[in-house]
C-alpha cells in the first residue's frame, strides 16, 4: 500500500466514527492547550521580570565594590558578596586593568557618585551625579538622544539622563521641582553652574544660618547631550561627568566642609560592561575571586527567572497530566475501534493486506488524532493567549506580577512552542496507537470467515 492510500483509508475510518474521533481529538486539544497556555504564562513571567529589571538597570553591567568600605549600597537587588577571608584589595587602576582582561568584558570604568546642584540662569536642579571614564560611556551602550556623548579628554562636560532636564525649576516661583517631565530650560548650553552647595540659587530667606559659613566652589560646565535610555532608572535620573572632575569636586567639597578626602585608597566603585548577558555570571564570579564584591541586575534576573521557571514547571506539569489522560483516551479509542473492526481487519488480511500495512493503518489513525488535536490545540492556545493578554490582563497581572514592573503580556508563545507541541502531540498519538496497532496486526484472519 502506498502512503497516500493508507492516509486516505485511515481518514475514512476516523470520519466513520465521528463522535468517538472527536472525543479523542478533544482530549488532545485540551492537553496541548493546557501545556502551551501554562508554558506561555511562564514565558510571560520571565519576560516581565526581565522588563522590570531592565527598568532598574542595565543587564550587561556588573557593579564592583571593594570588599569593605565603598558605596556598597547602590544596587541592592540581588547583591552578591565576596569571600570574607580575602584581604582588602584596592579597587585601583591595576585591578581595573585586570578586570578588563577577563574574557567577555568589553569595558571597565571606575565610578564615583555625588549629589550636586546645577544652575542654568535662574533655573536650578539638584541631581545625582555619576563620574565615569568619559571614553567608556559609549561602550556601556549609553546612547544619546540629543547632542553628543562624553568623549575622551572631556573635562567640564556633562550629559544628562533624559529625565533630568525636567527637574530644573525656578526657586523663586515654586518650592521644588515639579518633575513634570517637560524641561523648562535648554540644558545643552555652555553656561551651566555646578556646585556642591545645596542652597545655590535658593532665595536668601530659606538658608539655614550655619550653612553660610561653608563656602563651596562653583564650576562652569558645558552640557553636551541627553541620554536616550528612557524608562531606565539607572541612567534616566543621573548626570554623567568625567570621573576626574567628580573626584576634584568631591575633594573641594570635603575641603570646604573641613573633612578628609582619601585619594589613595582606590575607587569606591567600578562598572564592568559584559557584552553577552550569558557571561555576566561568570565575569561576576571571576571578579569576586579577585576579592571584590559585585552586584548586577543579572543576579537578580537569574533568581527571578529561576522562580519563573519553577512556576512554569508546575503549570506545565499540570498540562502534561492532561495530555497523559488524552494519550490514554487515544489508546482506548483505538482498542475499541480494533475490537469493533475485528472482522474488517480479517477481511483485509484475507484479500491481501500485508501485516505492516495493517499496523500502519492503525498507527496513522492514532497519529492523525494526535496531529489534528495538536493543530486545533495550538489554535485554541493562541486564542487563549490573546484573551489573557487583553480581556483578562488586569485580573491576571495582579495575581502573577511579582516582578514589580508593568505587565503588558501575561502569555508569550515563542515560535518553537507550537511546532514542538505539534510534533509532541503527533508522537503521543503514534505512541498511544502502537500497542493497539500491533494487536490489530496479529489478529487472526479467520475471524472474517466466521459466519454470523
Amino acid at each position: 500500500m502506498n502512503n497516500l492510500d493508507i492516509l486516505g483509508l485511515s481518514m475514512r475510518n476516523l470520519l466513520r466514527r465521528k463522535t468517538r474521533s472527536i472525543l479523542a481529538v478533544t482530549g488532545v486539544i485540551i492537553g496541548i492547550c493546557a501545556i502551551i497556555a501554562t508554558l506561555s504564562i511562564g514565558f510571560g513571567l520571565q519576560e516581565s521580570f526581565r522588563a522590570s529589571l531592565e527598568q532598574w538597570g542595565n543587564l550587561h553591567l556588573v557593579t564592583v565594590y571593594p570588599t569593605s568600605g565603598g558605596g556598597g549600597g547602590y544596587a541592592v537587588v540581588g547583591g552578591g558578596s565576596g569571600p570574607q577571608d580575602k584581604k582588602n584589595v584596592k579597587l585601583d587602576e591595576k585591578a581595573l586593568n585586570a578586570m578588563e582582561k577577563i574574557n567577555g568584558v568589553s569595558g571597565v570604568s571606575p565610578r564615583e557618585d555625588t549629589y550636586l546642584t546645577f544652575g542654568i540662569g535662574k533655573y536650578i536642579a539638584s541631581i545625582s551625579v555619576i563620574g565615569v571614564r568619559p571614553d567608556m560611556i559609549e561602550k556601556f551602550n549609553y546612547e544619546v538622544q540629543e547632542g553628543r556623548n562624553l568623549h575622551a579628554g572631556d573635562k567640564n562636560v556633562l550629559v544628562f539622563g533624559n529625565q533630568t532636564p525636567g527637574t530644573f525649576y525656578n526657586p523663586r516661583k515654586s518650592w521644588g521641582s515639579s518633575y513634570s517631565g517637560k524641561p523648562v530650560v535648554d540644558v545643552i548650553t555652555d553656561k551651566i553652574v555646578v556646585t556642591a552647595d545645596w542652597n545655590y540659587g535658593q532665595p536668601q530667606r530659606n538658608l539655614p544660618t550655619d550653612a553660610n559659613k561653608v563656602v563651596y566652589k562653583e564650576y562652569t560646565f558645558k552640557g553636551v547631550g541627553i541620554l536616550a535610555n528612557a524608562e531606565n532608572y539607572e541612567t534616566a535620573y543621573n548626570v554623567y561627568i568625567p570621573i576626574d572632575v567628580v573626584r576634584k569636586i568631591n575633594e573641594d567639597k570635603a575641603k570646604a566642609e573641613k573633612q578628609r578626602y582619601d585619594k589613595t585608597s582606590g575607587y569606591r566603585q567600578a562598572m564592568v560592561f559584559v557584552d553577552n548577558i550569558e557571561d555576566v555570571k561568570r565575569v561576576s564570579d571571576t571578579i569576586r575571586e579577585m576579592g571584590f564584591q559585585t552586584s548586577s541586575m543579572n543576579d537578580a534576573l537569574e533568581t527571578m527567572q529561576n522562580q519563573a521557571r519553577m512556576i512554569q514547571m508546575i503549570l506545565g506539569g499540570i498540562g502534561a497530566i492532561s495530555l497523559l489522560v488524552a494519550a490514554l483516551g487515544i489508546t482506548n479509542t483505538m482498542i475499541m475501534s480494533i475490537y469493533e473492526r475485528t472482522k474488517e481487519i480479517g477481511v483485509m488480511k484475507v484479500i491481501g493486506a500485508n501485516l505492516p500495512d495493517i499496523r500502519k493503518l492503525f498507527l496513522v489513525e492514532a497519529a492523525i488524532i494526535g496531529f489534528v488535536g495538536g493543530l486545533a490545540g495550538i489554535g485554541l492556545s493562541y486564542l487563549l493567549s490573546l484573551l489573557m493578554n487583553t480581556a483578562l490582563l488586569p485580573a491576571l497581572s495582579s495575581i502573577l506580577n511579582s516582578g514589580g514592573g508593568e505587565v503588558t503580556r501575561i502569555s508569550i508563545i515563542p515560535l518553537w512552542l507550537p511546532l514542538a507541541a505539534l510534533g509532541f502531540s503527533t508522537a503521543i498519538g503514534v505512541l498511544s496507537g502502537y500497542s493497539p496497532a500491533r494487536r490489530a496486526m496479529n489478529m487472526s484472519a479467520l475471524e472474517s470467515l466466521r459466519n454470523e
Binding site: M1, N2, D5, L9, R12, N13, L15, R16, K343, E344, V347, M348, K349, V350, I351, G352, A353, N354, L355, D357, A445, L446, S448, L449, N451, E452
Partner: protein, 253 residues
C-alpha cells in the same frame, strides 16, 4: 507465484496430500479433518458439500493458507503453502487467490469502486490503473453506475456482486467461495451463481465453493461430499466439459 508452466492439465493446480487437522479445545482434541487427499485442476469448479462441522471450511482455509495443517502437504501451483510464513502467505494470496464471503464482508466506509479496488490497493497498483480494472470488473458483474454507492445503500444481491467483483478484479488463478449465497434468496442465489460461474469459465479460473446447499452443487464440475473430516464421495458432473475426463477415466491420457 504459481508457475504458469506447471498449470497444465496433466499436473494438478492444487494438490492436497494426507492432510489432517486437529483443534485443541482445552483438554479435548477435535479432529476437523482426518486424512484428506485430493487434486484439483486448473479451470475446474469444485464444490464441497457438507453440514456445518463437517470440516469443509477447514479444508478451504488451509488451501487458502489461512490455517496450517497438523499433518500432510498442500501444494498450490508448485508452492508448498503449508510451509510459507505469514508474510509469504499474504503475498501468495495477493497474487493467486480471490475470496467471496457469505456475509459479503465489504468495508462499510468505502464506495463500491473503492471496495472492489481494495485488493489492488494492497498490491500497490496505481490509482488510474486500478480504477480502470475495478470498473471493468463492475461491468462484468452488472454493477455499472453503482460506483459511488456504499454497501449500506445496496441490496444483499448487489453487495454480493460487489464481493464477486472484488474477488475477480486481480484476475487470481483460484477463487474461493465460502457459502456465497448463504444470505440470499433463491432467485438472487441463481443470479449470483450464474455470474460467478460465467466469470470463472470466461477467464479459465479455478473455483472452489464450500456450501451445505445441494442446489449450489449443480453448478460444479465435481461435487465432493465431506462428513466428519473425511471425503465421503466424489461426484463428477457434466463429463463432456470436464477437463479431467481422461485422468478420471484413468486410461491412456
Amino acid at each position: 507465484m504459481v508457475d504458469e508452466k506447471s498449470a497444465d492439465l496433466r499436473k494438478p493446480l492444487i494438490e492436497v496430500k494426507h492432510v489432517r487437522k486437529v483443534y485443541r479445545m482445552g483438554e479435548e482434541k477435535v479432529v476437523a479433518l482426518d486424512d484428506v487427499s485430493l487434486d484439483i485442476y486448473k479451470g475446474e469448479i469444485v464444490c464441497f458439500l457438507g453440514t456445518s462441522g463437517s470440516g469443509k471450511s477447514t479444508f478451504l482455509n488451509m488451501v487458502a493458507g489461512l490455517e496450517k495443517p497438523t499433518k500432510g502437504e498442500i501444494i498450490v501451483g508448485g508452492v508448498k503453502v503449508h510451509k510459507l510464513n505469514e508474510e509469504m502467505v499474504t503475498l501468495f494470496r495477493q497474487k493467486n487467490v480471490g475470496f467471496i464471503f457469505q456475509s459479503y464482508n465489504l468495508l462499510p466506509m468505502l464506495t463500491t469502486l473503492e471496495n472492489i479496488s481494495l485488493p489492488l490497493v494492497f498490491r500497490n497498483v496505481d490509482k488510474r490503473k486500478r480504477d480502470a480494472m475495478a470498473k471493468e470488473a463492475m461491468r462484468a458483474v452488472g454493477l455499472k453506475g453503482y460506483e459511488r454507492r456504499r454497501p449500506s445503500q445496496m441490496s444483499g444481491g448487489q453487495q454480493q456482486r460487489v464481493g464477486i467483483a472484488r474477488a475477480i478484479v486481480g484476475k487470481p488463478k483460484i477463487i474461493f467461495a465460502d457459502e456465497p449465497t448463504g444470505n440470499l434468496d433463491s432467485h438472487t442465489t441463481q443470479e449470483v451463481m450464474e455470474i460467478i460461474v460465467n466469470m470463472v469459465r470466461e477467464n479459465n479460473q479455478t473455483l472452489i465453493i464450500v456450501t451445505h446447499d445441494r442446489t449450489i452443487s449443480e453448478y460444479a464440475d465435481r461435487v465432493i461430499t465431506i462428513q466428519d473430516g473425511n471425503i465421503l464421495g466424489i461426484e463428477v458432473k457434466g463429463v463432456a466439459k470436464n477437463p479431467l475426463k481422461e485422468s478420471v477415466g484413468g486410461s491412456n491420457g
